[in-house]
């Protein structure tokens, strides 16, 4: 029961973080990006879509690791692109990526919690 409750909390915090990251990405594409705005729009839209998927708890065994991987992928993509071009190194981007890093940790805990033996029994 305790594990189920913990899993639900982690799931909804993940939904919140996904939603906030998605909105921040879209905001950034609109006002700050300066280049590849469409990429930021796409990243944000995908985040908001995944927020809905995680909220609906649709295929969690696949969806949760996919979101975990997607968040890491985007973080590393931003880091390499930003340091190679000098673009995307500003407060909004740092904030966005800090939330994304939090999301990665949240997703890892959620995956661990969702696959807890007590839940699978």
């Amino acid at each position: 029961m305790q594990t189920m409750k913990r899993s639900a909390v982690l799931r909804w915090s993940a939904v919140g973080l996904l939603f906030v990251t998605g909105l921040t990405d879209i905001y950034y594409g609109n006002f700050n990006a300066g280049f590849y705005e469409n990429l930021w729009y796409a990243m944000g839209t995908i985040y908001i879509f995944t927020a809905a998927v995680i909220a609906a708890n649709f295929e969690p065994r696949f969806a949760q690791p996919a979101v975990f991987g997607y968040a890491i992928f985007l973080f590393v993509l931003w880091a390499t692109t930003a340091f190679a071009t000098g673009v995307g190194l500003d407060t909004v981007a740092y904030l966005d990526k800090a939330i994304e890093a939090l999301l990665v940790v949240n997703m890892a805990l959620l995956i661990r919690s969702s696959r807890s033996p007590s839940l699978l029994r």
């Binding site: 690791p65 590393v76 993509l77 390499t80």
Partner: protein
């Protein structure tokens, strides 16, 4: 009842594999994007270069009133540079075009105001070309070294000086 042969990964192993794949993919795509954004394919860049005279008495001020127009040429490393250098003096004054090492260039001097006039001389691998009044020299070279390099007229130092900026 069929027995499942699928092995379940541990959470740690799953996170590790997904994490590593995501990091490698992100780094690969990010590096590619960074390279693609910065990469500019070498191209041919043409410039028209003229001698210019500033409106002051060079005997009073103690320096030549001659300058280059333009006095900055900016290209990317690897570009082929073509400079059409025209001596537009209204007196019978010669000018030349000298480049600092390591650059050398080829030049075709035409006996008239455009490249349609007969060729007066063809020079290869040189560092200086003299252009008489009402002549045009077509100067070509490849910007193989990045940095800032001086070009100047040795008849009118130090004012008749420009800089080739090669972005590398």
């Amino acid at each position: 009842m069929a027995q499942s042969t699928t092995k379940q990964w541990s959470v740690g192993k799953l996170l590790l594999v997904v994490g590593i794949v995501a990091i490698v993919a992100g780094a690969a795509v990010g590096t590619s994007v960074g390279y693609a954004v910065r990469y500019a394919a070498p191209t041919t860049r043409s410039f028209y270069l003229f001698n210019n005279s500033l409106p002051f008495d060079q005997d009073v001020w103690g320096i030549p009133h001659d300058t280059f127009s333009p006095d900055r040429i900016t290209v990317n490393k690897g570009d082929k540079v073509v400079i059409y250098y025209r001596n537009i003096e209204d007196t019978t004054e010669d000018h030349n075009f000298v480049m600092d090492p390591p650059y050398t260039f080829d030049a075709v001097v035409h006996a008239g105001q455009t490249e349609n006039f007969p060729v007066a001389s063809t020079l290869k691998g040189i560092t200086v070309v003299v252009v008489h009044v009402n002549q045009t020299a077509t100067i070509t070279f490849t910007a193989s070294w990045s940095g800032v390099f001086r070009y100047y007229c040795s008849f009118h130092p130090p004012t008749m000086t420009g800089y080739l900026v090669v972005l590398g």
